[in-house]
């Protein structure tokens, strides 16, 4: 048999060969990407909502768990500024003020739950504020049944971005 005839037979065989289906390589990806992005937003929103719910209902327990971390912050950054901000603590002559000192010392800064998501500030600032006691209930720092609606004095630990990272309740605001 001639070469051309043999090649013709081989050609016929090859023409019957079916290429593997690779259509999946060319599937549009826009919808998938968009869906993924939407899904990400949805999950992020859900996570934030869950965080807020946890902060309101489980605040006290969460606050207790965060104490060691806050204590470390206090030791490194806050303590010196607090002393400066409250000169009465350094005045030995006034016995009445000295008597209040242990009460202030017992209170400690409590981290605000969702602040973990923010970058850690390089510089902190302590600001003294007057807070409605009802708001402390929302932060898990007061039990609702004990809240009387009075104003209490507190110190707020601010980051350089102006966002509060922690709060320390000082007591009833007498000013």
């Amino acid at each position: 048999m001639k070469l051309d005839d043999l090649l013709g037979r081989y050609r016929e065989e090859l023409e019957g060969a079916q290429a593997p289906n690779l259509e999946h390589l060319f599937a549009p990806t826009q919808e998938v990407r968009g869906g993924g992005r939407r899904a990400w937003y949805g999950w992020a929103g859900l996570a934030v909502a869950a965080g807020l719910v946890l902060m309101v209902f489980l605040g006290p327990r969460g606050a207790e768990e965060k104490k060691p971390v806050v204590a470390a912050v206090k030791a490194e950054v806050v303590a010196p500024e607090v002393v400066v901000a409250q000169p009465e603590r350094t005045v030995v002559a006034k016995r009445s003020v000295v008597a209040r000192k242990p009460e202030v010392e017992r209170a400690t800064f409590v981290a605000l739950a969702e602040m973990d998501m923010l970058p850690e500030p390089r510089v902190y600032q302590v600001v003294r504020v007057s807070v409605d006691e009802a708001r402390l209930v929302g932060l898990g720092l007061r039990e609702a049944r004990l809240a009387s609606g009075r104003q209490v004095a507190a110190q707020v630990l601010l980051g350089e971005d102006g966002i509060a990272r922690a709060i320390r309740v000082l007591g009833e605001d007498r000013d």
Binding site: R11, L14, A17, A19, L22
Partner: protein, 193 residues
């Protein structure tokens, strides 16, 4: 014919748009190229590699490269089909280096009666085809590429020259030499059987 249509489109204004869309990686354009070229590229790969697995792998890697790096296609240097042939040939060469046992033994168990052929005719036909297949596979790559494109795919000399990136004169001389080698191989193979 697919190649003719493709070449016509490459030379047209519309094809310039297609080339731009390919380079931008638009899935619809890539899919259009795939639909037009996949069968021809697969037959080329099958004839060059000698087995369906290797041909399928090389074809997939070729289109994956097109999808991932569409900007590598430069319409100024040739058609999209020539580009794909180039990628496919490189893949086949890489595979061949990795798998030295690329020529498989013919499986007589797979011989089946087809159509109006008797079993004996079918076996003879398969044996002849196998003889040619082995002879083609035994050719050096640069001869085998020309035989597959010109003799098996029936592409024109110009198209084959573009796909392989060599002058038409080289195509002619390689084909002439390859046919001589094939005849010699077939005579040797026929005598052995």
């Amino acid at each position: 014919m697919e190649v003719v249509e493709l070449v016509e489109r490459v030379s047209g204004v519309g094809e310039n748009d297609l080339a731009a869309r390919i380079r931008r990686g638009e899935r619809s354009a890539l899919r259009e190229v795939y639909d037009r070229t996949q069968q021809r590229l697969y037959r080329f790969a099958l004839a060059m590699a000698g087995n369906a697995d290797e041909a399928g792998d090389a074809l997939q890697e070729t289109f994956v490269q097109l999808v991932r790096r569409p900007e590598q296609f430069d319409p100024a240097r040739g058609s999209i089909e020539a580009f794909l042939y180039g990628v496919l040939r490189n893949r086949l060469r890489q595979q061949r280096r990795q798998r030295r046992d690329f020529v498989q033994e013919f499986d007589w168990e797979e011989c089946e009666e087809t159509g109006d052929e008797t079993l004996l005719e079918g076996m003879l036909r398969s044996a002849q085809v196998e003889l040619v297949r082995e002879a083609v596979l035994s050719l050096p790559t640069h001869y085998r590429e020309v035989v597959v494109l010109i003799e098996l795919e029936e592409t024109s000399y110009d198209e084959a020259a573009e796909a392989l990136g060599i002058p038409v004169g080289t195509i002619r001389s390689r084909l002439s030499r390859a046919r001589g080698l094939l005849e010699k191989k077939l005579q040797e193979g026929g005598a052995k059987r």
